[in-house]
Symmetry: C2
Subunit: 108 residues, 2 copies
């Protein structure tokens, strides 16, 4: 049996959970890559290249539980999308400010 992904309703998503999920360089990188896409990315395209599969799964689970990412099985692969619109409505400006600051920090 294929295990289904569980996603919190947006009303259950907490600011603390979002911040915790983004307080990790690998997860922040995943979110940045997803933010650049409109139609989702499979896990290996979204995750930093040097991450083992099990670590990728762990990070995607935390991102899903925090309400940042929606994952969906399409055939044999899993496609991940950022829940941009919902998150932006719930916590205006937070994720976009974090992604922008992270880009700026990288250029230093």
């Amino acid at each position: 049996m294929v295990r289904l992904f569980v996603h919190p309703a947006i009303e259950q998503v907490t600011l603390e959970g979002v911040l915790y999920a983004l307080a990790d360089p690998a997860r922040l990188e995943i979110v940045k890559r997803l933010a650049g896409e409109t139609c989702g990315l499979n896990c290996s395209a979204a995750a930093p290249v040097d991450l083992p599969k099990s670590t990728q799964s762990h990070h995607f689970r935390i991102l899903r539980e925090a309400g940042l990412v929606r994952s969906e099985r399409r055939g044999t692969e899993v496609v991940n999308e950022l829940r941009c619109g919902e998150i932006e409505k719930r916590f205006p400006g937070v994720v976009s400010a974090i992604l922008k600051a992270s880009e700026k920090a990288k250029r230093r």
Copy 2:
């Protein structure tokens, strides 16, 4: 001997560290209270009332290490200030968006 507080230089402050420090309801509350003050607050005025002293100290240490708070001994008390200007310059819009979203979430 009185132990001195250690504060990272602003160039050493990381976005991940800031997010981790704010991903806790008590620390977010402390930062919110400090953000409302221009001349600093002592620990008990800044921390949620029901926190034991040792837990307060733990949270202030994490906030200092993350670069968010500067603590200074003045006589017998410790006065804490948010490093607003420096943090805003390093990570524009991040802390202010988080504080605003947190206020909005509280009103729901």
